[in-house]
Amino acid sequence: MVEALIALAAILTGIAFLFALFRFIKGPSTFDRVIAFDVLTVVSITFIVLSALIEKRGIYLDVALVYALLSFLGVIAIARYLEGRF
């Protein structure tokens, strides 16, 4: 039962990832892509936590924490770069 719920959550998260990826590919302007990138990083943090849940390994959570830190820095860096261009 719990495995089925975890699989359902993983499938729903995958569909959300696909939606954000469509926006990332199609996005008419650069800002759409940056917003979609922000969402994609958060969704992939969720994916890492779910994979830790499926594999039953707690060490993956450290990966999720470091990935959260680095993705936040990446989004801030991109935003600062685009802001300074004008």
Binding site: T13, A20, V42, V49, G58, F72
Partner: protein
């Protein structure tokens, strides 16, 4: 008892995934940049925290790391989307549209920043004189 905890954890996981799905759908269907930022920021914060809570229900021994990740996301996710919003206002709206209200808001915020900076400088100088 344990099966009850497992069921609650699974339901929290599905609820969080549903919120993430709504966020992705909003990102795909919303017509405007501002609507997309709103849909992307709020729903992903809530969905990720729900999924972390569900994982903490399923594996209580990982609680501390999950709490750490949740606190970090709770602090940084609104901050990054607000940074993107400021980028949007500064870079997109000002040259082309010149919406007066937002333009005035930016000017007002800049003035407030300058004023607080000057006040800090003054108080620092006063301290230096007094000591």
């Amino acid at each position: 008892m344990e099966s009850l905890l497992d069921m609650m954890g699974g339901l929290l996981l599905v609820a969080g995934a549903a919120f993430l799905l709504l966020g992705g759908l909003g990102l795909w269907r919303m017509p405007d940049l501002f609507n997309r930022i709103q849909a992307g920021a709020k729903t992903t914060t809530l969905g990720t925290i729900l999924i972390l809570a569900g994982t903490a229900f399923l594996h209580p021994e990982w609680g501390f790391k999950l709490l750490l990740i949740g606190l970090f996301l709770l602090f940084t996710n609104p901050l990054s989307s607000q940074c993107l919003l400021v980028l949007l206002i500064v870079a997109v709206l000002r040259p082309h549209h010149k919406q007066p209200l937002i333009y005035l808001l930016i000017l007002y915020q800049k003035k407030i920043n300058q004023k607080s900076f000057l006040l800090k400088k003054k108080s620092r100088l006063k301290k230096r004189f007094l000591t």
